[in-house]
Symmetry: D2
Subunit: 307 residues, 4 copies
């Protein structure tokens, strides 16, 4: 036969599960979008349509919702670990599971009122407003022996209105760009970081605490770097995370350079002293790189975006 | 001639202007998306392509950027007033201008650090992260005599995890819905409110302060209403704003009912005690209404959405 | 009481119904997105949450799916008429219904094979590929006495690579645009047209045939107009429809001017003789107008877009 | 130093270039979205912000537009080859280039008229309507020695209204799905296929002709497969391409199972004999696999989507 089947996987994508925990009047919320992907002895279903080894994608969906009850959702990562372990250990034909999760953050509508003891503050204890900002990401892989946990975020939009330059670059026959000594630097941070936790014998990281700290380091490194290029800023963001967070061995970024062009107001007799900018859509610079702990093997795929 | 020209308008849409104000190391940012729409003596351009009365849309774009320098951007509303007045008073053929503005909010990356006096906090004084959450909206209309200012917001996503019921409704031959005595109520608030400021002789509202207060009232009324229907919650949100904000005479809402369905876990031997929900996409309920100060004339168009 | 309830409506939006008709091996498909909106005696539900007059939005959803079986879907317009009549005539508290429908077109995967008599062509008789291009739109309003049917389309993207000029316009202190004597003219046609059928006594239009003819006239008028401004092209498109289609009294357009800027290649020693263009995103011109049959009253709302 | 730099790349993404070729009155159009990504000796810019080896992303943008003039755009693949070769051979520090291209298809507004010799048909010779349907994709990689060309498409939405079953699958404690013996099968085809052309010495494929044939084989295999699972349909689509197109060695698919659920009309006293379906959004099955020519090495990345 001239053709063969290569890598394949299947499952139910984008299961939108919301979990409420009631602690008296005070409620807590977890809001996830969970995608299941399974691999294993699946040649027959491709070759002749035999589903004898196929756990239906509908069943993987049911499992997501049932596990939200059975195990709760302490963190997206822990929830994904429960799911991945279940599919690999309970299904003889399934040898690998990958769970991908997007998490949407909520905050209380009025935290002052909600945290007070006044009776009229009770309403706020179960009222939430979606936080907006970044989407938190997790990917959990399991092959029955070892874990691979990659967390991350996307659409965290940041901007420095100064402390950014760009000059000293290569000039060829197609170069028209003028050097810049004080420009806006803005990007939508998309990042994925890999934990060095791979084994049930190791103590698991504090998934929630780790996320908050990585996010804080990314924001602070972005703010504190006097930037000569977006690559330099990216590298500082990466090294900050690797240096400060011992549980993480690798981080990859995909950073669009959200161009803010200084508008030429001279035709109208006006001087534009770094005051008025046009925020452009396309095209945009795209800067991507991996930063690793020395000795670590790169495992995060190169493509975080499809463009 | 069997056909005639009806209402018409033209301009440049979605001018993305970012204005930075430098107060020493501390920078301030305004991030707007400005759409210009002009009406007037424009029959000829439609009938025969004569552009003699047409100020190019490119010029309206230039004016947006130039005015960001000339007038600054104290608020979206004030900026729109400058623009609308300019087009109507400077162009003999233009009799009406409508300026629509979306505003994207930013916050400082670390407000504690940015507000401190420590030298190493300087970096944070010009570093921002986009706030996410709602998009603020403004629409300024001017006909040379009177102003119409409609402000608003969209995509403010809120959720009450209890204190919502739905029962006692009409049942016909197509009704299968079961009555609910404790359900999630969630929506993406889209609202527009009209100011009773119409005349340059009146003192103008505090546009920035008014927005913050209206937003707060909307959130609090949503949180505090024990809801028997989304219509009731909507009406409470509207009356709260009209009651508390004397500068506003009319408010209109378009509130999708973001269904969160309690998942049936019985087939798996599990009880779902208001814990696990499926967040659905389509279809969704859509509840729309206007709330007016008694005696006020409704002016906000019925359609805030295109569906 | 200082506040009053104004216009209000409610229903289930975006019911995605697909109807298959089997004619032996040959299948036919209709793919709709149906939104229901009802008005009437609904003060109580807003004021105090009494749902005694409220037909649940869930029931309106069920009715959409049930009617797809009971009445079939000959056309989106006819389907909407069935629905609107049902809600107004069967529900005492409902006095007005508005049904909005998006329709997605499909074509057979291989029409030659599907239309042949060969046995091996049977597979193609129930295999479809989505056509892409425009989304067809319908809006049916009914108050128990009179009908208002507005059909339309959106996202029909067209481009003339020549036969477009723009010059002779107003120049003020903010004008920098250079006159153009041979430019690309491109737009995404968004149009709504109103039928003069309002009464069950009148013979109803051929909804399907009318749509095809209006679409053809719009395309041909766009192609055949030597354009001195997009307003002129718009007006020719409108008059063509009003002149040729007696069943239509009013048409409104919202036409973005999708700018294609000639790229300056002189810095690279190259001449750009109307060959290489940059297709811009934002900002864009936005040209909107209504064309009416003489004597007809304008009824289509001014805002087809939300910007 | 505890951190090291891993894989990195940079360039300008989403350059929207439109190329018009005038053949007398008859014009031809190519409409591309081109993303450039370069790798090489770029450690310094990450470590210390030295741009000495950095060709600005702005220059890569200029090159895209200049090359559209200098080389024309015979096909997206050929255009990408020109660009990739240029960056690698002209920039000493750049060792690898990857060009990604999306292509949007246009058709003439009235091909009958445009192809006729009548004078009044001239207008149609330079008037186009965007075709909709799929987006064509190309990715060209070059390291100075060997080429890797991966073409593909996305968003080609297809549907079989019968000839699809799903039964005989694994049932565990979370399985509730009922077996189906006549269901709708629908998907949005996303596929990438790799050419075995890797060397300038080999004759290059007919890129345009190859695309049309692969697209036709995908549609026909989808239509002609009596399907017992989407995996089976996928595999048939893949083998058809590998069997029939000798220039292609590998193809990968990401196929969402666009669920169309038969609506239960029994509560309304109606029988639903495969007539009325609800087209669901989320969640959806997601089936992904690679099909290879025997002996070929898999090179297409596993992730075509980010979920």
């Amino acid at each position: 036969m001239p053709t063969i089947l290569g890598q394949n996987q299947y499952g139910k994508a984008e299961n939108r599960v919301v979990r409420i925990v009631r602690d008296g009047e005070t409620h807590h919320i977890k809001d996830l979008n969970v995608s299941v992907s399974l691999s294993g002895d699946l040649d027959d279903v491709h070759h002749c349509g035999s589903n004898a080894n196929v756990l239906p994608t509908d069943t993987t969906k049911n499992t997501v919702f049932a596990f939200a009850k059975e195990h709760g959702i302490d963190s997206a990562e822990q929830f994904g670990i429960h799911l991945a372990r279940h599919f690999v250990t309970s299904q003889p034909a399934i040898h690998r599971a990958r769970i991908r999760i997007e998490e949407y953050a909520w905050e209380r509508i009025d935290s002052d009122a909600a945290n007070s003891r006044a009776t009229d503050a009770d309403a706020f204890k179960h009222s939430f407003v979606r936080k907006g900002q970044e989407t938190r990401l997790s990917q959990i892989g399991y092959d029955g022996e070892r874990w691979q946990v990659i967390s991350g975020l996307k659409d965290l939009t940041v901007l420095n209105s100064t402390d950014s330059e760009f000059w000293g670059y290569v000039k060829d026959g197609y170069t028209t760009l003028k050097e810049a000594y004080d420009r806006i630097l803005a990007t939508d941070v998309s990042a994925r970081w890999r934990f060095n936790w791979t084994d049930d014998e190791q103590p698991a990281p504090d998934w929630e605490g780790s996320y908050e700290q990585v996010r804080r380091h990314l924001l602070h490194a972005f703010a504190e770097t006097y930037s000569l290029s977006l690559q330099q800023t990216l590298y500082r963001m990466g090294t900050r995370v690797i240096d400060r967070r011992g549980e993480i061995d690798e981080i990859r970024f995909s950073l669009p350079n959200n161009h803010h062009f200084l508008v030429d107001l001279a035709p109208f007799g006006l001087k534009n002293d770094n005051e008025v900018y046009f925020a452009a859509d396309r095209p945009y610079g795209l800067i991507e790189a991996t930063v690793l702990r020395d000795g670590a093997e790169p495992q995060i795929p190169v493509d975080l975006t499809n463009l």
